[in-house]
């Protein structure tokens, strides 16, 4: 039997018997992402639904100064809560999302026909209060417009005079693209799944084997080292791919659980999506396997390898983070950058778009080229005399 295949089969068999590898590669790696995802999305979605539908309870200070305004607000759906002391502090301490204050000057200004000031007290850094704040502002503006129109009519003018421009909004987003925006961090879960899936094997098969002093006898067999290495890389990549497949299945199932349609969004995690993601991610399985093995080859012990690899794990986060802060318009060359290409492609798929054959080809070719370079470097390191010496 071919030596590479022998090594591959032995490593797979041995690691399937290891509970730590199984938990990290086939349970934690692929399922942690989807699990966090479902939890997080449920919280976000339920919160937004809550805030949009629930009666809006707002403490109003000085309600007696503007009975008409308060009455109108109540009709729009606002529930007036009793006034509170120190509204600024209450908002800061999250005791209230938003507080409305009608100053003492209000009745006088109103009666004179001057702009009468009302104060909306809120904290813009509190994202969870966004929706109530927006709703209160919208109600106040609506009241202001209505009263303005009544005043114009009373003076014999058409209300249209005061609205020279009307904005008509034509939103081009689709339910899917709105969902895609929300799910921008999903590609990272896939990337991390692949990374964690292979990590323990990469450590175990090089640093671990050296620490357990079995690398030296292994290298005494009449097999070129690069053949042994290829078998080990194959086993690592196979576990990484298995982890990815499980991850895709889990996300597919998660798609059924999430009530995204209630938010006017839809997300397609079907077979077509899964297949394309798998294809796009394959080069990464090979690239990560050899990078992880390379790093483990330099480490003196299992623990040292683990430390190095947790630092290496930050690398795939970069494109996700950069793209979520500064969204870019994807051009074809970006697909030729490993990791960035995957990030863009998967994001595009989530938004309901599609990737072209050229883009897929760019991802695959560049990814596998990078993997090949990494493998060649690893082969060189694997050939070194130092590698096999345990102590």
């Amino acid at each position: 039997m071919n030596a590479t295949l022998t090594v591959f089969l032995k490593e797979v068999r041995e690691n399937l018997r290891d509970r730590r590898t199984i938990t990290s590669a086939l349970v934690m790696g692929p399922l942690l992402g989807p699990f966090l995802f479902v939890m997080l999305m449920n919280v976000i979605i339920n919160k937004q639904l809550d805030k949009a539908e629930k009666p809006l309870k707002v403490p109003v200070i000085g309600a007696q100064r503007a009975p008409n305004l308060v009455h109108a607000l109540e009709q729009y759906g606002l529930v007036v809560e009793p006034a509170i002391q120190h509204p600024e502090a209450a908002v800061k301490q999250q005791l209230a999302d938003v507080v409305l204050r009608i100053p003492a000057s209000y009745p006088k200004a109103w009666n004179k026909g001057d702009p009468a000031q009302v104060e909306v007290i809120y904290d813009a850094s509190r994202r969870d209060a966004d929706t109530p704040v927006k709703r209160v502002k919208a109600m106040l503006e609506q009241y202001s417009r209505t009263q303005g129109a009544i005043r114009l009519l009373a003076r014999g003018l058409s209300p249209a005079v005061s609205t020279p421009v009307v904005v008509a909004q034509r939103d081009q987003s689709t339910p899917q693209s709105r969902a895609g925006q929300l799910f921008a961090f999903m590609p990272y879960f896939f990337v991390v799944g692949v990374f964690i899936g292979g990590m323990y094997l990469a450590i175990d098969l090089t640093a671990g084997e050296r620490e357990r002093k079995s690398l030296e006898p292994l290298f005494v067999n009449p097999v070129a080292r690069w053949r042994i290495l290829l078998g080990k890389l194959g086993a690592t990549a196979a576990f990484a791919t298995a982890s990815l497949v499980l991850s895709l299945v889990a996300f597919h199932l998660a798609g059924y659980i999430l009530p995204t349609d209630k938010l006017g969004m839809s997300i397609d995690l079907g077979l077509g999506f899964a297949g394309t993601v798998l294809l796009l991610m394959l080069p990464l399985a090979a690239l990560f396997a050899s990078l992880q093995t390379l790093v483990s080859a330099f480490a003196k012990s299992y623990r040292e390898a683990q430390t190095y690899l947790s630092i290496l794990m930050l690398l795939p986060m970069l494109p996700s983070m950069i793209l979520s802060f500064t969204p870019v318009k994807a051009t074809n060359w970006m697909y030729a950058v490993p990791l960035l290409g995957q990030q863009l492609g998967i994001t595009e798929l989530l938004r309901g778009g599609s990737v072209t054959a050229v883009q897929v080809a760019l991802v695959l070719v560049s990814g596998f080229l990078a993997a090949l370079v990494a493998v060649l470097v690893t082969v060189r390191v694997y050939g070194s005399e130092r590698l096999a010496i345990s102590a």
Binding site: A3, K10, E14, S214, P217, S390
Partner: protein
């Protein structure tokens, strides 16, 4: 037949091996005796192609590992100083793995494996995973694994290290059996009594050089000591790093 000619190996400033030459003949047990740190392991590592010498040459049946390492490794059965097993595999699976890496077919592997299990007395534990094996069980498994392809040359680095009396006796008997089968057996040790009891030929190494290379009788004659242990100490110049 293993021939070693003027081997040199330096690690940084340290001259680990500094001009070692000897030969180990078929049908003989050759012992490398020397204190800890004398360069025995490094010499053996150059022999079984894990390291390449800075200078000098190794020949196994006339083949130089520098030009064809794989052919040399095919002829060698090696028990290195570090002989870790795969603890999640059974003893049998450990042996089979190396048999397959040697390129043997499954039927031959099974036959050789069972012969070795019999010869080494491993029947009780061969089906168990090697995690939790005693030192003796581990060494036996490692030897079976190293010899599954029936090599003509057997290299053992400190094979009795850490073994109890019974296991040591079994190991020595096994080495004699290999010799009687006509194999070239080369082993290293820092235990004088062991080398004296086993070897047809003794190569004494100290400070990276060969201090003596002779049969036990010749060594006694050369030094004028009737006791081999005294002869060793006289040759090396110190008792440090040796064990009776």
């Amino acid at each position: 037949m293993i021939e070693v000619k003027d081997l040199h190996k330096t690690f940084g400033e340290v001259k680990a091996v500094d001009g070692v030459s000897f030969s180990a003949r078929d049908g003989e047990i050759t012992g490398l005796l020397g204190p800890n740190g004398a360069g025995k392991t490094t010499t053996l590592r150059m022999l079984y192609t894990l390291m390449s010498p800075d200078r000098g040459q190794v020949l196994v049946d006339g083949i130089d590992p520098a030009s064809d390492p794989v052919a040399v490794r095919k002829r060698l059965g090696v028990l290195p100083d570090a002989h870790g097993l795969y603890k999640r595999l059974t003893a049998r699976e450990n042996i089979d793995y190396f048999g397959r890496l040697q390129g043997m077919d499954e039927a031959l592997i099974a036959q050789r494996r069972e012969e070795l299990i019999e010869a080494l007395g491993m029947g009780d534990f061969a089906a168990r995973r090697t995690e939790g094996f005693s030192q003796g069980q581990r060494v036996k498994t490692a030897i079976a694994r190293a010899l599954v392809h029936g090599p003509d040359h057997v290299i053992l680095d400190e094979p009795t290290n850490g073994l109890d009396v019974m296991a040591t006796r079994a190991m020595r008997a096994f080495m004699r059996k290999l010799r009687d089968e006509g194999k070239c057996v080369l082993f290293s040790s820092h235990i004088m009594q062991e080398v004296a009891a086993l070897c047809d030929r003794i190569v004494v190494i100290a400070h990276g050089r060969v201090a003596a290379d002779a049969s036990p009788d010749q060594l006694r004659e050369q030094t004028g000591e009737s006791n081999l242990e005294d002869a060793f100490v006289k040759i090396i110049g110190t008792e440090e790093g040796l064990a009776a």
